[in-house]
């Protein structure tokens, strides 16, 4: 997670929002705590929404499944 955290920070530093969609999705997939999962999924979804990214609908569905949208 530390490596992923560094990668996320690097993506933020270069404002690479497309990368952030997948990186935050990965972060969500690496934990089982629902609150933490939804915390990361929220980031992934928001950047996907902004970009019109093809993953936006799937990310929305995952958040919706936990009653978070």
């Amino acid at each position: 997670m530390s490596d992923l955290n560094d990668t996320i920070l690097a993506a933020h530093a270069r404002d690479d929002r497309r990368a952030l969609v997948s990186l935050y999705t990965q972060a969500a997939d690496q934990t089982n705590d629902i609150n933490t999962v939804c915390f990361f999924l929220t980031y992934a979804y928001i950047y996907a929404l902004e970009l019109g990214h093809p993953d936006a609908d799937a990310l929305y569905a995952r958040l919706d499944a936990h009653g978070r949208v």
Binding site: N35, T36, V37, C38, F39, L41, T42, Y43, Y45, I46, Y47, A48, L49, E50, L51, G52, H53, A56, L63, R68, V69
Partner: protein
């Protein structure tokens, strides 16, 4: 208690042109009077903001400051033009700081609330706590972007800030009918057919100068060879619009006598006729057989204005060389007007100047504008007093 501590005396402005004075100096140099006038003249009416060609593609967004108000011009995903207040409904943060294409949603750079290109609030991340993206008190349907009433005509986007003006098509029915022959498609000439000019002057002076042909032989001697003073006529509709027409419009000619293609279906009178109309308060339009133009006057402050000039043609593809020459020609003409507009602005600091007198023969269209402004300001004062 008097509500108009800075109220100017406008009684002489609305006299007949033979007896009238122009607007008092304060309407050009006094911030308080300008503020009152802006409410009456620029916010309660249909003011020009931009042109559709500023946002040619779906999703294109352009932030524009209008009288200090942060606005966002947007072509939504379906191609419809919309104008919003450029602020998030959460903390009032400016949403878009530079022209860009919105690929998906508008994301506020502060807390990332997201809006669709139609202004709908679509996501409120963490609004109910970390990872909780809803809250019962935050109803998305109630918190879309504040939309400003707008209307598109001849590719100019007009806005009514107060939202209560009569319909644009009602206000400008006469002019729309007058130019109905020009309703055919018009195509922006592209990057070589737009330019901006900065004026250190109140926007009204640009309108006043545009309305009349009196100055043409003195300020635009180059036009005199083919567009002489005596070949012009006045256009003046009280309380509506004014300008000038010419009977000797001459087309630009390229190599081998090439000309721009004509707009379709025009009456023969347009073979040599052209009209130039100020649509109050701040849009200047020109209609000719083979091209037209719009000038949107952006009133930055009471004494600084940006002219946004755009040229349009009857066909999507025209000669690049001729377009470039045509833009250069118009730019030269409009640049020639700058010193008179700025000179009149300086003149407004003369305390003994009484607004000036009009030539009854030549200044009718300019007086028409003054009288309209005075009428709108008076109307506004009457509403305040009611």
């Amino acid at each position: 208690m008097a509500k108009h501590l800075t109220a100017t005396d406008l009684s002489s402005v609305q006299r007949s042109v033979e007896q009238a004075n122009g607007l008092p100096n304060a309407h050009y140099i006094d911030p308080q009077v300008f503020s009152e006038e802006a409410e009456a003249v620029l916010k309660c009416t249909w003011a020009g903001l931009a042109v559709g060609a500023d946002v040619p593609n779906n999703g294109d967004a352009k932030p524009i400051s209008f009288l200090g108000m942060p606005l966002l011009l947007l072509r939504d995903k379906d191609g419809d033009l919309r104008v919003f207040e450029n602020i998030c409904r959460h903390r009032g943060m400016q949403l878009v700081s530079e022209a860009q294409n919105i690929e998906g949603a508008i994301r506020c750079p502060y807390h990332s609330w997201c809006y669709s290109t139609k202004g709908k609030l679509v996501s409120t991340p963490h609004v109910g706590g970390a990872g909780q993206n809803t809250h019962p008190s935050i109803v998305k349907d109630d918190l879309g972007l504040n939309e400003v009433r707008s209307h598109l005509w001849r590719d100019v986007i007009f806005i009514n800030i107060t939202g209560d003006a009569p319909e644009f098509t009602e206000v400008h029915r006469d002019l729309i009918a007058r130019w109905s022959e020009f309703d055919s498609p018009m195509y922006h000439g592209g990057h070589d057919s737009k330019f901006e000019l900065e004026l250190m002057a109140n926007y009204k002076l640009a309108v006043e100068n545009y309305c009349e042909s009196y100055h043409l032989p003195w300020v635009h001697p180059g036009l005199n060879s083919y567009s002489r003073l005596e070949d012009h006529y006045h256009i003046q509709e009280p309380n509506k619009y004014s300008g000038q027409g010419t009977l000797v419009y001459k087309q630009l000619q390229g190599p081998d006598d090439a000309v721009f293609p004509d707009f379709r279906g025009l009456d023969e009178k347009w073979n040599t006729g052209a009209e130039y109309v100020a649509i109050y308060p701040n849009v200047l339009l020109g209609a000719q057989r083979d091209h037209c133009f719009s000038i949107v006057l952006q009133p930055n402050t009471l004494n600084s204005t940006t002219e946004h000039i755009h040229l349009y043609y009857a066909e999507p593809k025209t000669s690049e060389d001729m377009r470039s020459r045509n833009a250069h020609l118009w730019k030269t003409v409009f640049e020639e007007d700058i010193f008179v507009v700025e000179g009149m602005q300086k003149g407004r600091h003369s305390p003994l100047f009484d607004g000036g007198r009009f030539s009854p023969a030549m200044d009718g269209p300019t007086h028409n504008f003054h009288a309209w402004v005075a009428g709108k300001v008076q109307e506004h004062r009457d509403k305040q007093d009611a």
